[in-house]
Amino acid sequence: MSDDLLVVEGLKKHFPVTRGIIFQRQVAAVKAVDGVSFTVKRGETLGVVGESGCGKSTMARCIMRLIEPTAGSVVFDGREITGLSRHELRPIRREMMMVFQDPYASLNPRKRVGAIVGEALEVHKIGTATETKRRVQELLEIVGLNPEHYNRFPHEFSGGQRQRIGVARALAINPKLIVCDEPVSALDVSVQAQILNLLKDLQKEFGLTYVFIAHDLNVVRHISDRVLVMYLGHAVEVATRDELYHHPRHPYTGALLSAVPVPNPELARARQQILLEGDVPSPLNPPSGCWFHPRCPRHHPGVCDVREPQLVAAAGDHRVACHFPLERWPMNAAEMAAPAASASTGAGTATGAP
């Protein structure tokens, strides 16, 4: 049995844009995910961060096969799952589950909690009615809800409790992988901590593997073992949590880290922020060369706007897609704008891995 539970290679999802008077023809594509590769080891948490529109949610749905990827391969537990038919996918669906962002919209308001949590058991025809009920009550207890609330409806619960129901539903048939799409971003801080702790506890207890998608760098740091940073449909940096937060190599990661507000007035005011100019470009018409170059403080004309950087190893397991990766951290804006003298050779090392 391999160490890797999930291996994603060159995953792409392009949404076609069509035009035409009676016959529709494709005139362009929204490149929501455009060639992302990564692996997730058994029992670890891979955090995926990026701003809205970077393609992180689309990627999650492609992995789950909730939408059909345009290209690329997804190997789950040693089995290629792209191209599998619905029927072939069924046993695999039992092993990967998803927790969604909105605890208000993701639970059917007309179903009782027992039915919601037990749904997967029923779909996969596991156990008798009494067994299902016992299992559901056990699950409710595991996620910290009162098992007696089996017959209540979702609206009788608060946001945090609903997210617990969502987690219980995902746990129902002992999955190997849980993909969490922004599971705490709709919750208040104190409730968010409860859910994060719960997810960590469950991971220890059941040996779960998580892909944890979020835009909040604090949350991702807290829960992840390794972190993938996405920008405009591309993976720009992957590293272990400590590597990424202490020695970010990609200028975008640096800018993200420096933008996070720190709840300490002295540190917050002393620190030098790297402010990015402008907005994220449209994935309909992405920039040439490096996708980040129009906003990048280290942008080198002639290099960054021409050649597309590859995601290559910078040090050990730390991989970055940049022609001029950061030499050290922290850095202020001026230092960042002037890459070291060896930058031109840096461009060389960026294409051929050291």
């Binding site: 901590a193 702790n197 604090n218 933008a259």
Partner: protein, 340 residues
């Protein structure tokens, strides 16, 4: 004299389920040119407090008492047209969601010009040139061309800049910002916070910043009010609050934040959920969730009193001084230790 002096503010909404006390005896002051941060979770009453001060609550269901003295005049008692003359002129407000806060069928130029004409008796061309100037000041690229664009043609960050431009166009003395960066991405949030800081220095406006994010407060606020269950539970300067938080809810808030600047294995979680304002707990509003709760906490509401001997630092808690100081010490040495 304080620019804004809110005294014992109460706001109650009539709903089908009964009376909701959304704001229950809130007092604070805002000094000219300074920034006050109001922090709290959803339902803590922070937004309603500010909407009440602005007179923007639904008149049919809300009733209000207390005072909100702006430059000495009570905003809650003044005639409607006087308040209207202040709104958007001397006090302005920006909102959480820049996507829905601009009228989709008018160009942003028209909406800015409207804001000018509501308070200044100037020509169309003068109003337009003022609008153009303020758009440039908030950093809209190609302002000359973009002034005639519609809101949907702007990104979220740019729309929030337009909202700020509209709020500042009449040079207000007080700007109330209700979660202005919550709907934005982190890099855009950094841009907007920086912009607000720069403009504050330039225009000299005081800012009331409503947020749920303690990080944002640490970045921008001079003074902080922490709200819980429709009440102020702690009031301090930003330095004091983050260095010596003095009541269990604030401890819990700080402890439950996952932080980029240091690691913890487990977050200090606050058990339970925020209180219902329809039927709030007796005594201290926080006692059902408080790990330090004593029997007095159930029966008696603690007053907002000086916590650490400092006059600017008030909190609402029955714990005695000594216990609080030892707890703060403990937290300082453990969880709040800064890893640099």
């Amino acid at each position: 004299m304080a620019l804004l002096d809110v005294r014992d503010l109460h706001t109650t909404f009539r709903t089908d389920d009964g009376l909701v006390k959304a704001v229950d005896g809130v007092s604070f002051t805002v000094e000219p040119g300074k920034t006050l941060g109001i922090v709290g979770e959803s339902g803590s009453g922070k937004s309603v407090t500010c909407l009440t001060i602005m007179g923007l609550n639904d008149r049919r269901s809300a009733s209000t008492s207390g005072q909100a003295l702006f430059k000495g005049a009570d905003l809650l008692a003044m005639p409607k047209n006087e308040l209207r003359a202040l709104r958007g002129n001397e006090i302005s407000m920006i909102f959480q969601d820049p996507m829905t806060s601009l009228n989709p069928v008018h160009t942003i130029g028209r909406q800015l010009v409207e804001a000018v004409h509501l308070h200044q008796d100037v020509s169309r061309s003068s109003a337009r040139s003022q609008s153009l100037d303020v758009l440039k000041a908030v950093g809209i690229p190609n302002a000359e061309r973009r002034i005639d664009d519609y809101p949907h043609q702007f990104s979220g960050g740019m729309r929030q800049r337009v909202m700020i431009a509209m709020a500042l166009i009449n040079h207000p003395d007080l700007l109330i910002a209700d979660e202005p960066t919550t709907a934005l991405d982190v890099t855009t949030q950094a841009q907007i916070l920086k912009l607000m800081d720069t403009l504050q220095k330039e225009y000299g406006s005081a800012i009331v910043m409503i947020t749920h994010d303690l990080g944002v407060v640490a970045e921008i606020a001079d003074d902080v009010v922490v709200m819980y269950g429709a009440q102020v539970v702690e009031r301090a300067t930003a330095e004091e609050l983050f260095a010596r938080p003095s009541m269990p809810y604030t401890w819990g808030l700080l402890g439950s934040l996952p932080r980029i600047d240091h690691d913890v294995e487990r977050l200090a979680q606050i058990p339970g959920t925020p209180p219902s304002l329809l039927n709030p707990p007796s005594g201290c509003r926080f006692h059902p969730r408080c790990t330090y709760a004593m029997s007095i906490c159930q029966s008696e509401q603690p007053p907002l009193a000086s916590a650490t001997g400092s006059e600017t630092h008030l909190s609402r808690c029955h714990l005695d001084q000594a216990t609080r100081l030892t707890e703060i010490k403990k937290l300082e040495s453990g969880h709040f230790a800064e890893v640099t």
